[in-house]
Structure formats: structure tokens, C-alpha cells
């Protein structure tokens, strides 16, 4: 018997649901929940991690992330403007920088900043200690990514905007600053959020700089606790702690985008 179109579609949908439920059932039934709970969900260990995981570890993670993001945003904007510059050497320098730093692992750059700068300038210290080092170390890499995003945003602003601004007597710089760049940033809010979330997780690389009890961040705190207690529960706690940052962030950005939609 031949099925009619809607019957065929319904049947296909039910088969997909069935397959999905089957996969989940197999995983749930096959897993050893007792051992899992013992390894990842020891309530006494969870309790022992509070409040330090929030008051120190989460706080530092947020600080490192914001520091790196701010450094990356400012430096990335400068690089983007250099790439779009009429001055050829600016374009060469910016392009070379972006290609180099996009190709290097953030871990390596962090090492170079954390240990290279003190060797190169023995008389001076990076301001802010670990905070300063990680802001610069991660920010240098983030700037390379953000520069390309911001450049694309600037180029997405219609040429007529610059022309209208110049026609009103604004200099190129004033027109960029008051007309083009504000519109470009509205365009690149989603990709920049992505970068911020990536940086949140990259801040876990701070351990290579040798953090102390005061400068520890979420992942390192989880790993240290894991070593102390010989149990994986701290990793679960650390993972959930990151979600405390990233989930509200996504929500905030959705609202920002809605607000700017009116002024586009």
C-alpha cells in the first residue's frame, strides 16, 4: 500500500524520535551510575569547595577574561584600522601580526609573555602581576582574531556613511570614530561575544604563569582540589562554574542585539 505524503512525513519523524530515544536509553542503561556518582559527585567534596570556588576562583577567571578582552579589543581595533589604512607599511605590519598570532597557540604566547618579557626587561615588571601578564598574553592572541572581525564590521558599514560624514566636513578620523566604528561594533557584537566566551575558557591557561592561592582561577582550582582529594568531583564543579559566566553572557548579548535592532 502506498502511503500518502503526510503519512510518510509523520512516519519518518517518528522513526527519528525512536532512534534518538534508543541511543539515550542505551547510554543511560549501560553506564555504571554508582561508580560515576562516586567519582564525580561526592557531596562532601562539593561542599568543601565553597565558597572559595566562587569568591576567589570565579572572581579571578572573570578578571583575567575581562582584562584580556579589554586589551584585545583596544589592540584589535587599532590593528583593524591599520589593515584598512592608506599607509602601506601599516597594512603590512598589521597583516603580519595577525597572521603570526593567529597561528601561534595561546599557551605558547602566554609563556613568551610570562617568561620572555621579564628576561628582556629585567629592571621592569609587568604591571598587575599575573593579572597583567595574562591580560597581555591572552590579549595579544585575541587581538589578532578580533582585528579581523572588526575589520569585517567596518567594511560592512555602507560606504555612503563615510561619504555623508565627510560631506558634512568631518575629518576621516572623526567620521571613523563617530559614524563608522559605532555602527561596525553593532554589527560585530555576536562574533565578539564568541571571542569573549572563548577567552573565558582560555583564562584557564593562567596556570603556566604559576598562580598562588590568591590568583588561582577555576580550572586550576578544580585540578588542585582533584589532586588533594583523589576524586574527579572538582572537575564537575569547575565545569558548572564556567556556565555561571557563559549562560548569562549569551542572554545579555541577545538583549543587546534586540536593543540595537531599532537603531539599524
Amino acid at each position: 500500500m502506498k502511503l500518502r505524503r503526510r503519512q510518510r512525513e509523520r512516519l519518518s519523524l517518528w522513526l527519528q524520535y525512536l532512534a534518538f530515544v534508543a541511543v539515550i536509553a542505551v547510554v543511560v542503561l549501560a553506564a555504571d551510575w554508582g561508580r560515576l556518582r562516586e567519582a564525580f559527585f561526592r557531596v562532601d567534596i562539593i561542599e568543601s569547595m565553597f565558597p572559595t570556588v566562587i569568591t576567589v576562583a570565579l572572581r579571578n577567571t572573570i578578571l583575567y577574561t575581562l582584562g584580556a578582552f579589554a586589551f584585545g579589543l583596544v589592540f584589535g581595533t587599532i590593528l583593524a584600522l591599520m589593515r584598512l589604512s592608506r599607509v602601506a607599511p601599516y597594512r603590512w605590519v598589521a597583516t603580519a601580526y595577525i597572521e603570526l598570532f593567529r597561528g601561534l597557540p595561546a599557551l605558547l604566547v602566554l609563556f613568551l609573555v610570562g617568561y620572555g618579557i621579564p628576561i628582556a626587561f629585567p629592571e621592569r615588571e609587568i604591571p598587575g602581576g599575573v593579572f597583567g601578564s595574562i591580560s597581555i598574553g591572552l590579549g595579544l592572541t585575541a587581538a589578532a582574531y578580533m582585528a579581523e572581525t572588526i575589520r569585517a564590521g567596518i567594511q560592512a558599514v555602507p560606504k555612503g556613511q563615510m561619504e555623508a560624514a565627510r560631506t558634512l566636513g568631518m575629518s576621516h578620523f572623526t567620521a571613523m570614530r563617530t559614524i563608522v566604528i559605532p555602527q561596525a561594533f553593532r554589527i560585530v557584537i555576536p562574533p565578539l561575544t564568541n571571542e569573549l566566551i572563548l577567552l573565558t575558557k582560555d583564562s584557564s591557561l593562567a596556570y603556566v604563569l604559576g598562580v598562588t592561592a590568591q590568583t588561582i582561577e577555576v580550572t586550576k582550582f578544580g585540578r588542585d582540589t582533584l589532586n588533594d582529594r583523589v576524586n574527579a568531583t572538582p572537575l564537575l564543579v569547575a565545569g558548572l562554574t564556567y556556565l555561571i559566566i557563559t549562560l548569562p553572557l549569551s542572554q545579555l548579548v541577545r538583549r543587546l542585539e534586540l536593543r540595537y535592532a531599532k537603531a539599524r
Binding site: T167, L168, G169, T174, Q183, A263, R264
Partner: protein
């Protein structure tokens, strides 16, 4: 900057402009007197928009000289930002700043360029909004306005800088037909107040009624110019006649173009493939 009242508002001598191998303007000589309204008409690709954009140096001429109010625009050392303050420009696509309210669109250049205080800038802005009939739209964003309202806001934005010369680049071409009238009314009112205007347009009725002089361009040269009565009413050149018959009677089929003469002139050259904001 030397300003001499005896010089015309706009003076163009042997202007050439090429985009790569494509020569768009092939030697234009042209003047606009103070208080004069000049309409430039012609088929698309004839170079009329390019000519207009050369006047305030949005396009860099390849050769020739341009003076605006006695200041040589083509002088490499011209203080271009200072000269442009006195030249308003209205674009086909309005080019309002979408991230700013209408009021801020009108005040931002007054404040950043003319260094006017907030109160004075807003006073001037509101006076000009009233002039174009948009008093109640000061707080709106451009996206909340109709095309006709956006174009009138754009005109008010230019007027807020107290220009001595206004350039209009096909100001009604992007509008729905029923919105064209409001914009043309504002422009006519401006003309009657004595503003010097250079208008690239396809609105023949506006050219006939408002212009002091009509200039017909084709193929990068000025084919003929004169009072609207002559150029539009009794054109001397065959090219003008065939253009006018196509514009005024577009569905007319009896008289086809002679073979070998393309009915459709080359399309607009577009901008050079260059995505840098280097104006």
C-alpha cells in the same frame, strides 16, 4: 583660501575623470552662479553623478580645475574638510546615520565640526526640521521613517551646516512615487529662498518649473544647456530629443532607435574595486 564675490559659486574648467580605463567625464566646462538652480539631466552613465561628486571632491578629478566660491578644490593643499562645510550634499540613498536619532543626525556635525554647543546645535536642528516638515520626528531613528521623511531629514541635516551651495544627487530616485512630491516641495522652497543648487535628477517637471538652467549631459560631455524652456521644450540636439522622448514617453514604440545606436547607454561605471574608506 581666497574668496572673491565676483567668482561664480561653482566653476569647472576642462574636467576629466576616469575610472581605470573608463573615461567618464571627457572635458567639462561649467559654471553655476550665486543663487542659481541648475538641473543636470541625462541618461544613466552619462557622468552627471560623477560630475556632481567631483564638485565636493568625493571623486578626485583626473584632470582639470574646480573652484567653489573662489576656492580651488583641485589644489592639492586645499583644506578639504573646511571647504566641504559650506557645501551640502543630498544622496540618492539618503545616508542618514542609522545609529543616531534624527535630532542627533542633525547635531553631530554641528557639534564636532562647527563646535557649536548642544543648545545651539539643537535649536538650529529643530528649526531645520520644521523647515522640512519633520518637527515631530526629532526623536525617531531613521529606520522608523519613510523614504520621503528620511530624505527630508537628510536635507535638513545638510542645511544645519548653513551651506552656501547644495548638491543633490538624484534625491528622489530611491523613493516610492507618492513620496517624491514632499521632497521636491522642500527643494523648490529652498530654491525660492535663493539657495545655490546643483541638482542631478530625472524629474523633468521639477527641472522645468524650478531650474534656472538645465544641462543635458551624454557620454561624459555637456551636449547642450540653457533655460528649461529651450532645453526641455525645444532641444537643439538629436541626442537631447531622443533622451527626452524616452523619458517622457517611455512606452512609445513607433519610433525605434536607428540600428547601431544603442538604446541603453553603458551602465554606471560604479566605484573602483576598493573597499577602504579613503575619501
Amino acid at each position: 583660501m581666497t574668496t572673491s564675490p565676483s567668482r561664480p559659486a561653482v566653476e569647472i574648467r576642462d574636467l576629466h575623470k576616469s575610472f581605470g580605463p573608463l573615461e567618464v567625464l571627457k572635458g567639462i566646462d561649467f559654471e553655476v552662479g550665486h543663487g542659481e538652480v541648475v538641473c543636470v539631466i541625462g541618461p544613466s552613465g552619462s557622468g552627471k553623478s560623477t560630475l556632481l561628486r567631483c564638485v565636493n571632491l568625493l571623486e578626485e578629478p583626473t584632470a582639470g580645475k574646480i573652484w567653489v566660491d573662489g576656492t580651488e578644490m583641485t589644489d592639492p593643499d586645499v583644506e578639504i574638510d573646511a571647504v566641504r562645510r559650506g557645501i551640502g550634499m543630498v544622496f540618492q540613498s539618503f545616508n542618514l546615520f542609522p545609529h543616531l536619532t534624527v535630532l542627533d543626525n542633525l547635531t553631530i556635525a554641528q557639534r564636532r565640526v562647527l563646535r557649536r554647543g548642544r543648545a545651539e546645535a539643537e535649536r538650529v536642528a529643530r528649526a531645520n526640521l520644521a523647515r522640512v516638515g519633520l518637527t515631530d520626528k526629532a526623536g525617531a531613528y531613521p529606520a522608523q521613517l519613510s523614504g520621503g521623511q528620511q530624505q527630508r531629514a537628510a536635507i535638513a541635516r545638510s542645511l544645519s551646516m548653513d551651506p552656501k551651495l547644495m548638491l543633490f544627487d538624484e534625491p528622489t530616485s530611491a523613493l516610492d512615487p507618492e513620496l517624491v512630491g514632499d521632497v521636491l516641495t522642500v527643494m523648490r522652497q529652498l530654491a525660492e529662498e535663493g539657495m545655490t543648487m546643483m541638482v542631478v535628477t530625472h524629474e523633468m517637471a521639477f527641472a522645468r518649473d524650478v531650474a534656472d538652467r538645465v544641462v543635458f549631459m551624454d557620454g561624459g560631455v555637456v551636449v547642450e544647456q540653457g533655460p528649461p524652456r529651450e532645453v526641455l521644450g525645444a532641444p537643439r540636439h538629436e541626442r537631447t530629443r531622443s533622451f527626452l522622448s524616452r523619458v517622457l514617453d517611455p512606452t512609445h514604440v513607433a519610433q525605434l532607435d536607428p540600428p547601431g545606436q544603442s538604446a541603453e547607454p553603458p551602465t554606471s561605471p560604479g566605484l573602483p574595486a576598493d573597499d577602504r574608506h579613503q575619501i
